[in-house]
């Protein structure tokens, strides 16, 4: 990077690209050329910075100046003002909501302050399509050291010592998993990277693959060395075309550099990586289902044991880890397991990446040490709730997780605490909800997802989740009974207890956690027939305020079912028996006399 006096990093993550970061990059390059700066300043398209809500983002190095909501037409100003004259373009700087201060450098932003970036260390710093930039930041050093300095067992010991646990949701100790696969004797073994990120509202793995694909490749090779596998497979969602493209480029570059292929670092170790595509089935995140899918079959899970470490892809021992887990590996080797283990809580070491979304100011990708409280994540990093509304709940763990509430805000986040609170780490989706969100509807939303995504193999998941959904639907329509609440509970518990795979074993969590934490809201729906968030249409009624109504008859004329009656110039009324709750009357009323109750 030394050749240039300045670098302009343009975020090339999915969110920013969706908002034309490509055009910004082009505009910047054109502008540099116009000003004769193309040999002094370089524009780099990087992976996700994480601060998606403020995208598209441009960062200037040196100085770490962080420009947000950049448009292609701002390019000229950035080049003229900042690059040529050394003056920051103030109108594009980020405004700290609490302090009302302009943050001049990225490190000053509250969003960044509480974060430690291990898995995301390179995202937003390097050009993911250029292996040299990865190498410049200690890339492939860990692989080299493993192959030349350590035995496989020594590496496994390091991973075990680091305390790293699977980041895909289950939290199984990674080192132990490697050790089990390593011990099984077989002529062929596989290491598999699970990149089938399917949680609605989670995009951690995507960002890592798009921003730093080499870290995953390097880690898989280390994994292969440790377990005795010469073949790696990445199972990646077909819906992630950019991640696929960058991973392909990275694999080819690694091959060119001899970092994949035969006899890597002259160690006699061979390793290659192939891609397999998912085809839109959430259940394929479950490792046995994933393996079946890679074999060209329906993505249906099978009962464990046997575990993939004994009987995996094509019946051979296979080690499955997810993208984020892998992204931690090279750092653990380079900085030492002790360093890694010094971060986090007693049983959960290191950091965790979360995709922060929902009713929060700073939507984006964050990485925090295990043990950070939800409060810090939501209010310090996330910048609090959008539009000054009240915090109601945060959903972690996607469809497998639960909704936590105010009383959990000071809970340090780790695997065990989240589980104890009735949720789970999951892959790291974190959706924040405010007072406008109806918790019964949220539970229904997740169950709708599970019903769509259940493979159908086992009866509790196939039929049970459908019944859960139907009961929730009934409740949101105002037709629920107290008996239904008891059914929800029993059904949820049985589904958890009897389902074949992790999907069914966790799918009732959104129901159970909302029953636990928002019981009053269920009772209101069932007994008082009210939805406090005003989100359940079936429980709402349109009424006309007789004080405000002028009797203009606009509503009555517009009503498609003639539910509104009244004398001209006199107050009108809505016949609730006929009303279909379409809301037309409210749209038509010029006097705000139609109310939704």
């Amino acid at each position: 990077m030394a050749k240039y006096r300045m670098h302009l990093l343009v975020c090339g993550g999915t969110t920013c690209r969706s908002s034309e970061s490509e055009s910004i990059r082009n505009a910047l390059e054109e502008s540099l050329e116009r000003n004769g700066l193309e040999n002094e300043v370089k524009v780099v398209s990087t992976g996700c910075f994480g601060f998606c809500d403020k995208g598209p983002i441009v960062k200037v190095i040196p100085g770490n100046t962080f420009y947000i909501h950049v448009k292609p037409e701002d390019a000229e100003e950035i080049v003229k003002e900042h690059v040529l004259n050394g003056r920051r373009v103030e109108r594009l700087l980020y405004l700290e909501p609490e302090k009302e201060l302009l943050a001049t450098g990225s490190k000053e932003i509250g969003f960044q302050k509480k974060q430690i970036r291990i898995a995301l260390r390179n995202c937003g710093f390097i050009d993911p399509e250029n292996i040299d930039e990865y190498i410049a930041r200690d890339g492939y050093v860990a692989l080299c050291r493993c192959l030349t300095e350590y035995t496989p067992q020594q590496v496994i010991e390091m991973i075990k010592k680091s305390g790293l646990r699977g980041r895909g949701g289950g939290g199984f100790p990674t080192g132990l998993k490697w050790e089990i696969t390593a011990k099984v004797k077989s002529d062929q073994k596989y290491v598999i990277c699970n990149a089938d990120e399917g949680d609605p509202g989670a995009f951690m793995d995507r960002s890592i693959l798009e921003g730093d694909p080499h870290s995953v490749i390097e880690a898989m090779a280390i994994n292969g060395y440790c377990t005795g596998a010469s073949k790696g497979l990445v199972y990646i969602r077909a819906e992630y075309p950019m991640a696929i493209k960058r991973l392909r480029i990275a694999i080819n570059q690694a091959k060119e550099y001899g970092l994949l292929g035969k006899n890597i670092f002259n160690s006699g170790f061979d390793f290659d990586i192939e891609l397999r595509y998912g085809a839109g089935a959430f259940v394929c995140g479950e490792e046995t289902a994933l393996i079946h899918s890679m074999e060209g079959k329906r993505g249906e899970p099978t009962f464990k044991p046997p575990f993939p470490s004994e009987h995996g892809f094509l019946g051979k021992p296979s080690n499955v880890n997810n993208v984020e887990t892998y992204a931690n590996i090279p750092v653990i080797i380079n900085k030492g397991p002790e360093w890694f283990a010094s971060i986090g809580t007693e049983k959960s070491k290191g950091t965790k990446v979360f995709a922060l979304a929902g009713k929060i100011n700073n939507v984006g990708l964050i990485e925090v040490p295990m043990g950070t409280t939800l409060r810090d994540v939501i209010f310090k990093i996330g910048g609090g709730i959008r539009g000054g509304k009240g915090f109601k709940a945060v959903q972690t763990g996607g469809p497998s997780g639960g909704c936590l509430t105010t009383r959990h805000l000071d809970t340090p986040i780790d695997y065990d605490n989240l589980l104890a609170a009735g949720s789970m780490m999951g892959s790291g989706g974190m959706i924040v909800m405010d007072e406008d969100d109806c918790m019964v509807s949220i539970a229904k939303f997740y169950l709708g997802f599970t019903v769509d995504e259940s493979c159908g193999k086992c009866s509790p998941c196939r039929i049970g989740n459908k019944r859960l959904y139907e009961i929730l639907d009934k409740i949101t329509k105002g037709e629920g009974t107290t008996e239904d609440l008891a059914k929800l509970k029993n059904l949820s518990e049985v589904i958890k207890d009897t389902s074949l795979c992790g999907l069914g074993q966790t799918s009732p969590n959104p129901v159970l956690s909302t029953l636990d934490n928002f019981w009053d809201e269920y009772v209101e729906h069932v007994i008082d027939k009210k939805c406090r968030a005003s989100s359940c249409k079936g429980l709402m009624k349109y009424v006309i305020d007789p004080e405000a109504c002028t009797g203009c008859t606009a509503c009555a004329r517009a009503c498609p079912v003639n539910a509104i009656s009244g004398e001209r110039k006199g107050p009108h009324t809505i016949n609730q028996e006929i009303c279909i709750k379409c809301g037309t009357c409210m749209e038509k009323c010029k006097f705000n006399a139609v109310l939704l109750q």
């Binding site: 329906r298 493979c455 196939r462 039929i463 049970g464 059904l491 049985v494 074949l500």
Partner: protein
């Protein structure tokens, strides 16, 4: 052998490593209920998807309940099969399954023989608290099999049979989640799929999702029609299984009672498909000898090995999957069709009636026979050689319907002339039987010497693929036997690739042969029933005065009076057939 000690419901038990909790529990008299699990022991047919979750049990130290069928025991394991937690879970899962199942038990063909129904009864289900939408699909009727998949509980047994055992590939699990079901591609009708109608899916279906087409009403109408003479033929495997439907021990031979029952039902003549089996041996055996002698005399255009052609599901199978081999199997029609053909010509003439006024009914262990008798090549001016084919199960129901106390019926004999048969014909009902019968006759025809021994033990058994060599007075005749279409496929691929070492191959589509046919009383996964049926057939063979087809006096008479000799022009016309290419053709537009 490594032993593992564990405790189940406070009883300690020691079993071999690798045993499932289900089987370990059985050892101490604990019968854990199952639904999707299915195992024909010793025949390599097992279905263990762990999907229904009925057999869940509590294992100490495990977070979730474990399926007893798929969980292997471990040393020191502590299992509870009847704790409150288990009983509540099992009941709730059952209630869920029933909530997506039609409530039409009263009119369901499977009622009384339905595993789901029995289980609901056993678990004491009295209401369905979790009601909601039910998954519905189009009903599909084929000549042999009815699919009413609203009743499918996704146990996947049929899928396993159709794919893993039979390698037919007509069925697959389709869709996912609540709409997942087992169906042919694109939910097309079975009739358009490569289904062979072997009926093994029906034989293992625990509910009424897959049942046979019931032709009993048509038979009753024919019997009631004074203008019709109605005759019946019974396949060999029926007599070894029918008794089970009346509470008799598996393997009870009920030939005599069956004949009496058929007479009471009003059939004008009760004949035996075995007669036609003897006729089949005459034709097929002669064809084998003909090909063999031509081959030995140097004719390289002869297709060897010869393949048997008695099994209609097998015929469908090669027409779909190996059309390039359609001139390899024997051209001899199946016994059912030979019988029909002779009945509607020779016998009708004897009675002096028009074939249109003669109704031929067959009682078969098979569902493919229903399709076979409708094949257009077996119709004369639109009139079929065999009018209706009933399964063993349908006959049992028919007998019950007619208020006949089967068990107290006297035994009686088949009518003549089409009721006489030899022991060779009886064993047609089991794997290895057809080829043994053929060998008995071919040996004597070829060597012109009497057989030194009639029983060919080397051809018997239940191994999926068997091979034996029989010495024909110096000529080593190499014989292959396969039952189950997956096993047949192996032998066929050898033939296709020119690697087959055999002179003759017997193939039966169903595991065990016709004794395990798709129309037989349901064995519910008990392999000992198949073994008992097989034993019964060999026993009947042993007790017969005549045991070689060519010694059947009425067969001799038939050739003398009507056909001339085997492979004569008349025989070709009435007793032989041709095969068709039924594979999917990709035509370029």
């Amino acid at each position: 052998m490594e032993l593992v000690k564990l405790t189940i419901d406070k009883k300690s038990v020691e079993v071999e490593k690798g045993t499932s909790i289900l089987n370990a529990a059985r050892k101490v008299g604990i019968e854990i209920p199952t639904l999707c699990y299915f195992n024909l022991e010793g025949m390599n047919i097992e279905n263990k998807p762990g999907g229904c979750r009925i057999c869940v049990v509590e294992v100490q130290g495990r977070r979730n309940l474990a399926p007893a069928c798929a969980t292997e025991v471990t040393e020191g394991m502590v299992v509870k099969t009847n704790s409150t937690r288990v009983l509540n879970a099992r009941r709730t899962v059952m209630e869920l399954i029933l909530s997506d199942h039609p409530f039409d038990c009263l009119v369901c063909p499977k009622s009384g023989n339905c595993e789901l129904q029995s289980l609901a009864h056993r678990l004491g289900i009295r209401d369905i608290p979790y009601q909601g939408e039910q998954s519905t699909y189009r009903k599909d009727t084929s000549p042999s099999i009815i699919r009413d998949v609203d009743k499918c509980i996704l146990c996947r047994r049929c899928e396993m049979m159709c794919n893993d055992i039979q390698t037919v590939g007509a069925l697959s699990a389709i869709n996912r989640g609540f709409m997942a079901v087992v169906a042919p591609a694109f939910e097309m009708n079975l009739e358009k799929s490569p289904c062979t109608y072997c009926g093994q899916c029906v034989a293992v279906c625990p509910t009424g999702a897959l049942t046979e087409v019931d032709n009993t009403r048509q038979v009753i109408s024919a019997l009631a029609d004074p203008t019709k003479t109605v005759i019946v033929q019974t396949a060999p495997a029926v007599r070894a299984a029918l008794g089970e439907e009346f509470g008799l021990e598996p393997g009870s031979l009920v030939t005599g009672k069956m004949v009496s029952a058929l007479r009471e039902l009003g059939f004008d003549y009760v004949f035996d498909t075995d007669f036609a089996a003897d006729l089949t041996i005459m034709e097929e055996g002669s064809e084998l000898l003909d090909r063999l002698t031509r081959y030995l005399s140097g004719d390289r255009n002869v297709r060897l090995p010869i393949l048997t052609s008695c099994c209609p599901a097998w015929v469908n199978f090669f027409e779909h999957n190996f059309p390039e081999l359609k001139d390899v199997p024997s051209t001899a029609r199946s016994p059912q069709q030979m019988f029909g053909s002779i009945a509607k010509t020779y016998f009708a003439k004897k009675l002096g009636i028009d074939r249109n006024n003669l109704v031929v009914v067959s009682i078969m262990p098979c569902l493919a026979k229903k399709y076979e008798c409708q094949r257009s090549e077996f119709l004369t001016d639109g009139n079929p050689d065999v009018d209706f084919s009933l399964s063993t199960r349908e006959l049992a129901n028919f007998i019950k319907l007619a208020n006949i106390d089967f068990n107290s019926l006297p035994e009686s004999d088949f009518d003549r002339p089409l009721g006489e048969s030899t022991g060779a014909a009886v064993i047609f009902g089991t794997t290895g039987g057809v080829i043994e019968a053929a060998v008995r006759t071919a040996y004597e025809l070829y060597t012109k010497k009497p057989l030194p021994r009639v029983d060919f033990e080397e051809l018997r058994g239940l191994e999926g693929v068997r091979a034996a060599t029989v010495n024909f007075d110096g000529l080593e005749l190499r014989i292959g036997i396969a039952h189950g279409l997956g096993n047949a496929r192996q032998l066929l691929e050898e033939v296709r690739d020119g690697k087959s070492q055999y002179h003759a191959i017997e193939i039966m589509a169903c595991p065990g042969g016709c004794i395990g046919g798709g129309g037989q009383p349901l064995h519910h996964g008990d392999a000992s029933i198949l073994k008992a049926r097989q034993k019964a057939l060999y026993e009947e063979d042993r007790n017969k005065a005549l045991r070689k087809s060519h010694e059947n006096p009425y067969i001799i008479q038939l050739y003398e009076e009507f056909l001339g000799q085997p492979l004569s022009e008349m025989s070709h016309h009435l007793l032989h057939t041709q095969y068709f290419d039924k594979s999917t053709q990709i035509v370029i537009e």
